[in-house]
């Protein structure tokens, strides 16, 4: 059995660089710039940030759909990159399962629902023999709250929410220890979203599964996750206990994200002057406003993470060496920033 004190997943300095362009103009795009992430047993960690910030790249590296350019990661204490260099072992693929954003694209339309559950059960040897397979399929359907009769249906006969439940059941078929859920509710109709979130939370609690929940929706991250990590331009900028982090956001980027969540309860409209200031702090940091435990000196290669509180956990990346704002996918273009300064 695995030791419960070792994290399920632990990445160290994970980097991913993509090369784009043809043979004449080659450019390197850094999608992930050295990421350290620990996920404990049964823990739900939310990864938030705007699109293009590298959230999905991180998940794809962990799922081994992408080969990280640099860095290591341990899964239940085992150095995965060392034991299987090129591609994941079958054992690893069973232990780490992914749930994708688009339930309309992730189920092959020519197969009945039963097929999607049967395949992983067979391939990973979780059940064999007709009777055992049938029983396992029914058990999975019950877990995600769908009737057995649906096994005979085709994907197009199901609603988005039902399809996403099938995708979850398929992931559960192989008894995973870590789920990577990449915006699992953003394509669903709003009225069924909360149901899918509740289901994922229950499954994690009942079966001790850990989850990396990727989203740009801070409200749902707050609802679901134990811990939140904020990502900007391929790097972590702030992290900690979900409630603590959202109550006392330290990094200007986190505060910018929070200010962007529509909240009918907010009394005053968010101040544009303050927002312009936050933008400036994110894009052109001039000083590091945080103090706290810093084990080593800070540099652009190895910025210090300041610990704001121990319990509940809360840390923030050094404000001076911010991730490069010209990284791709950063929606905060300086041009808009300058205009707002003029307007202000």
């Amino acid at each position: 059995m695995t030791d419960h004190d070792t994290p399920v997943l632990s990445t160290r300095g994970l980097q991913k660089t993509f090369t784009i362009g043809g043979s004449f103009s080659r450019t390197q795009v850094r999608a992930l710039g050295g990421v350290d992430l620990d996920i404990a047993h049964g823990e739900i960690v939310a990864l938030v940030g705007e699109s293009g910030s590298g959230k999905s790249t991180l998940a794809r590296c962990i799922a081994r759909l992408e080969q990280p350019s640099e860095g290591t990661f341990l899964f239940e204490g085992e150095d995965i990159m060392a034991t299987s260099k090129r591609r994941a072992t079958r054992k690893y693929r069973a232990a780490v399962q992914m749930i994708f954003q688009d339930p309309f694209g992730s189920l092959n339309p020519v197969h009945r629902i039963g097929h999607f559950l049967e395949r992983p059960l067979r391939i990973h040897g979780a059940a064999s023999g007709r009777a055992a397979l049938e029983q396992a399929k029914r058990r999975l359907m019950a877990k995600v709250g769908l009737p057995d009769e649906m096994l005979e249906r085709y994907p197009h006969e199901l609603s988005g929410g039902q399809r996403q439940r099938i995708a979850i059941a398929r992931a559960l078929a192989v008894n995973p220890r870590l789920l990577l859920a990449d915006e699992p509710t953003s394509m669903l109709d709003v009225s069924v979203r909360i149901g899918v979130l509740n289901l994922m939370r229950n499954l994690c609690e009942e079966q001790g599964i850990s989850m990396l929940y990727i989203t740009h929706d801070l409200a749902s991250a707050r609802y679901l996750a134990d811990r939140i990590v904020v990502m900007f331009a391929g790097e972590f900028v702030e992290g900690g206990d979900a409630m603590e982090l959202l109550a006392q956001p330290a990094h200007p980027y986190t505060r910018l994200l929070i200010s962007a969540v529509p909240d009918p309860k907010r009394t005053a409209p968010f101040d544009p002057v303050e927002r312009a200031q936050l933008r400036r702090q994110v894009l052109h940091p001039t000083e590091c406003p945080w103090s706290g435990k810093a084990a080593e000196s800070c540099s652009a290669e190895k910025p210090v993470f300041h610990r704001l509180s121990e319990k509940p956990e809360h840390w923030v990346r050094c404000g001076l060496y911010a991730p490069p704002a010209d990284a791709p996918g950063t929606a905060l273009e300086p041009a808009a920033d300058d205009q707002e300064n003029d307007a202000a």
Binding site: E50, S51, G145, L146, P147, E149, M150, S159, G161, Q162, R165, D189, V190, S191, V192, R193, I194, G195, N198, H216, D217, L218, A219, S220, R222, Y223, M243, L246, L256, L257, I258, S259, A260, V261, P262, D263, P264, K265, R266, P269, F270, P272, R275, A331, L332, E333, A335, A336, Q339, E340, D342, A343
Partner: protein, 305 residues
Amino acid sequence: MSTPLLEVDDLSVEYVTEARTVRAVDRVTFSIAEREVFGLAGESGCGKSTIANAILRLLRDPAVIAGGSIRFAGTDVLALSPDELRDFRWRQVAMVFQSAMNSLNPVMTIGDQIADIYTTHERVSKKTAMVRAGELLDLVGIPRDRLRSYPHQLSGGMRQRVVIAMATALRPPLLIMDEPTTALDVVVQQEIMAQIKDLQQELGFAILFITHDISLMVELSDRMAIMYAGRFVETAPAKEIFDAPRHPYTRALMNAFPPMAGPRTRLQGLGEGVRFRDIPDLEAVTPNHWVAPSTDDNLITEAIS
């Protein structure tokens, strides 16, 4: 009370095919006053965009208006001739689409595209049109030198600002916005919303605002309607719907957005397979708050056979 700007009365729209006829909008009645922001919320496929397209007479085969009337400032929109329609669209009612930022012509500069509106609709000289195009960009906080830029040189948020500016170019009294921020990133989304609010206060147009994001809508709208399967299930002032939703579907929608403050409590959405059917006409609970009565009869849990 003066005549409202827009009156939609008992409107039904059907999609007619040989196999079957689908009623996308079913006997919908509402009105929008001058300078009012009216929000229309509901999930995909409930008929929100069909209403918007019907108001602008943009429906195409197989969609047909099966009944009801649309009046704009007293004029019957459904009776307009093609010539009158040309003038009605953009000058009276302008629309901002969800993918609007992709609707800019990629081979024309921003300035030429905006100037086009003035040379076509107001028959002014190219030079005057360009000056006014620059003024329009000022309005949404984009530097004038962007007039010479092509759409691909602008970010998504800036393109959306340009499209919104273009919609207001002829100062129409009503703007229809169909999910104007859905395709944008969260940070940019909030900025565009603030921009829309500022413009609305400055220019004083009314807005029909369509979205599935209720919390966004409550922030912006004066009054809102919740739509389900082609029917209105509730309409009231936005704050009132937010504070005291009455229809079970409205409550489910409100629940779909966890709060950003306060303790973490478990929320309950609409159950999987729960459907409403035969939604009755709205009844007034207070003079401003109308709800379709809901009983167990019209709430069904879809049995899967």
